[in-house]
């Protein structure tokens, strides 16, 4: 049932997939990455390339120390510049043209198996309940954590997305290729530096990233974020929009800390474009 030359497609994709190792302060990221252009530009997930530096291992075994050149924590994308040319880059395809049922392949390094390939079909394309309004390529394909940051490609081997997470029911979510192109044009976006989860009344801070604007502004684990620049925030999208609108300026965050009768306020200075997380 597989198309002609499928073996070659898989092999080409494998040569354009790298392993990414990163880690600072106890946090460790290990996953995959995609050689996006032959000048050494590698795309991976922001949650794979933690911190400022990463170690990249090519399919031929070469390993290269690299720095994170740009990061967008909300899009969960990062760019690594390898400083090596003549690499085998992938071709990409606009993910909006994908139809449900199309065959897709993923290459990655799940559970330590380097260059492992899995196949599946496109399930749908669009937003996912509980994950805000952003679009995802949703595929019925079996992925493991080590696939994060690696390519999801169509039957001709053209990359349609970056494998990012698996949701309930085993559906794999990939960041659409067109979002990657936008990110490469736009570069880093400022980040607040918090990991949050929506609750009844606002966004609950689960983690504050060390040395981030949020930490510098003394936000703490357990703070309940309820407004940004005077507007209520109810979703991650609301917070993301407020951050985008305040780039390079002050963002006023209203929050509760224990006492729900007293809304506190803090001004956060957002960096222009440094490599921060979340």
């Amino acid at each position: 049932m597989l198309p002609q030359g499928f073996g070659e497609v898989a092999e080409r994709l494998r040569r354009s997939t790298v392993q990414v190792f990163s880690g600072t302060r106890g946090a460790q990221g290990t996953g995959s990455g995609v050689i996006w252009s032959s000048d050494g530009t590698v795309i991976t997930n922001a949650h794979v390339a933690l911190g400022d530096a990463a170690l990249v291992e090519l399919w031929d075994g070469r390993s290269i120390e690299t720095r994170v050149a740009a990061r967008d924590a909300r899009a969960d994308l990062a760019v690594l510049k390898l400083g090596v040319t003549g690499l085998a880059a992938v071709a990409w395809r606009d993910s909006t043209s994908l139809r449900p049922g199309e065959l897709v392949v993923a290459v990655g390094n799940p559970l330590g198996f380097v260059g492992a390939l899995t196949t599946g079909v496109v399930h749908a394309s669009g937003s996912v309940r509980g994950l805000g309004r952003r679009r995802w390529v949703q595929a019925a394909i079996r992925l493991a954590p080590g696939n994060s940051g690696g390519p999801l490609a169509d039957a001709e081997g053209r990359v349609v997305g970056i494998n990012t997470m698996v949701v309930a029911g085993g559906v794999a979510l990939a960041i659409p290729s067109d979002n990657v192109v936008d990110f490469l044009k736009r570069g880093s976006r400022p980040a607040l530096g918090v990991v949050v989860r929506p609750v009844d009344v606002g966004l609950l801070v689960l983690e504050v990233i060390p040395n981030s604007p949020a930490e510098n502004a003394s936000l703490l684990i357990g703070d309940l974020l309820v407004s940004a620049n005077g507007r209520r925030i109810e979703s991650m999208d609301d917070l993301g929009d407020a951050i985008d609108q305040s780039a390079g300026a002050l963002l006023k965050i209203g929050f509760f800390r224990g006492d729900r009768r007293r809304e506190r306020e803090v001004s956060v200075r957002l960096g222009a474009s440094r490599a921060e997380a979340a």
């Binding site: 609750v199 703490l220 224990g258």
Partner: protein
Amino acid sequence: MSNPLVSFSEELASTVARAGQSVVAVHARSRFDSSGVHWSPGVVVTADHALRRDEDIRITAPDGSRLNAELVGRDPGTDLAVLRAQGLTAAVAEKAEKTPAPGSVILAVGRFKDSASAAFGVLSSVSGPSQTWRGGKLDQVVRVDVALHPAASGGAIVDAEGKLVGIATPVLSRVAVFAIPPVTVQRVVETLLAHGRIPRGYLGVGLQPVAIPEHLKSTLKLPGAAGLIVISADPDAPAGQAGVTIGDVLVALGGATIQRPEDVQQVLDSGSVGKKLSARLLRGGKLLDVDVTVGERPRKG
């Protein structure tokens, strides 16, 4: 000179006959009957999963007589159920004083139709207190290697002397038959006789594990690197009444360090209902102690 194999066989048969004097057949499902153990006068312990109905339960005594039994209560967590059988004259099971060591010979003794039923095996392992996947608390996890016939579920696992090592259940593990030890059975029997159910403690909060930032862990001298953050709190439930609110990070409860959801469950399951427990919370970078009076988890339906 007698053949040692013959005498071993005879020993086994008389052990089964002796132990079988306190094992009854339980008729409460259509395909297979199950078994039960005469625990204390008029009280029979059986396997909860094999009781498919709450009424119209009959038992067959070792002497072949049939009696009606009344369901006292169930504890799905330990797969035990307690029946009351007025007029049961069978012998009460003699409990082993200690659990035999791994490798010891055991027998599964049930009652099937008009006969005692037996299976031969060894005790595979004995380990410390644990929680079952169904949420019940076992004082000891006793695994036995024995081919348990469905009709022997709820029957006795006995040692070489015919003394009760535990109640046989195949549903607490996918790979082994468990013998629920007498100390656990006694606790469940007492609670079910007194309340008709096992009350489970309830705080009324939704919790999620979080890492505690290194600087807070060291300045506050916290024992654990993780806690449970409150993501929802019912204001009318015990924790809400005590002032616990969304964003609080629970780090200790009733003196026990809390790092995982199971830690809370363990505190709540050990007869906590109605007790006042001190909850240590991390709020706004500081520690705060509040007293929570544990409630009883509302029952389903």
